[in-house]
């Protein structure tokens, strides 16, 4: 493995990196949705009102 390499097509590795990319996008969208849904409730629980967090 030592020495410089030109990347070659490797479907297995591409799927692996694709899975990480997909997980990142799903997490960005998923946590964003959860924040919108439960953020106000959570702030209410922690400090007694969402408006105070802004």
């Amino acid at each position: 493995m030592a020495g410089l390499e030109i990347p070659t097509w490797d479907p297995e590795t591409a799927v692996l990196i694709g899975a990480i990319l997909l997980e990142s996008i799903v997490l960005y969208v998923g946590y964003g949705s959860l924040e919108r849904l439960f953020g106000p409730y959570l702030m209410e629980l922690l400090v007694g009102g969402e408006t105070n967090a802004r």
Binding site: D10, S24, I25, Y28, V47
Partner: protein
Amino acid sequence: MLDSLLGGSGILGTSPEMLALFVGFGLVVGVLFGFFGMGGSFLVTPALLMLDYPAPVAVGSGMAFVFGTAVIATLKHHDLGQVDYKLGVIMITGTTIGIEVGRASVYYLESLGLAGGIISVAYVVLLGGVGAMVTRDALGGDGGDRIDHEAADKDLSEYEIPDIAKTIQRTVRIPPMVTLRGDIRVSAWVITAVAFATGLLSGFLGVGGGFIRMPAMIYAIGVPVPVAVGTDLFEIVFSGGLGSYLYGQGGGVDLGIVAPLLLGSALGARVGSAATAVVDADGIKIYFGGMLLVGAVAVGVGEVGSYVGSPALELLGLVLVVGAAVVVALAILYTALSSLRVTHRQQTSAAD
């Protein structure tokens, strides 16, 4: 072997205990990254080294984690209009070559049986150096030119170009010259040199390199701070993706490590980012510098433990590096909650 203590069969070849550890560590790293905008990810590779993962797996998985984190952060900065795509595309070439040279060095050192030791020493120097710099800035009460949380609210024309960047722009005029956002005109070779140097660091250590690349973009190229942050992240998506692919081809990316780390860090980054709205970053910066210094000591202790074959020292190193990160993350959360409660009480009193 520490991982044998925690090891066993589980999801993605990782035991439930290790998955929980990675999610928790990811959460902590995410809070730090979301709050400071940098720095959390370079605790991951040393922690994996201390868990006795082979150097290519520690560096490769660290880089894949950085790639995932950069994807998430770039989506956010794109929405804020803080990405200079032209600069990012020019930097990709230099960074890619740098990463490949760094990666080849890791495998070469691994073949000599020296990779783990040399990478650990590089981390001690790096964490110690950056930690000392941040601590000095914090003690001096100077916010420095690091990430400014109010940066998003300022116009790009309000940012002054550092003198050193002006000098470089005037003296290094090797064509082709390119014009960047904020009417900056600079040689493409300067951009490529900065990109290569930081790519080399990324490939060798499995870090995003933002803590070096951002100051380099600001001081060597003259890019406004928010654009440096956004463009750096955009660039890491490509360079980190390619680096992860190259390490993945050699079996260096372990999804059982990366997936739970990302699961925790994506949530932590939201919390850390939200905390910036209510906490003064300068007040916390000294803890951040302290954390990096403790991290440097921890890597050193872990490496000595590995060298003399002492699991106790290895464990101490791991506890120190994870513990320091946890303490700073908790300090951020505690300060944010305290600040919110004070604001709430003041508003309630005013309403009464």
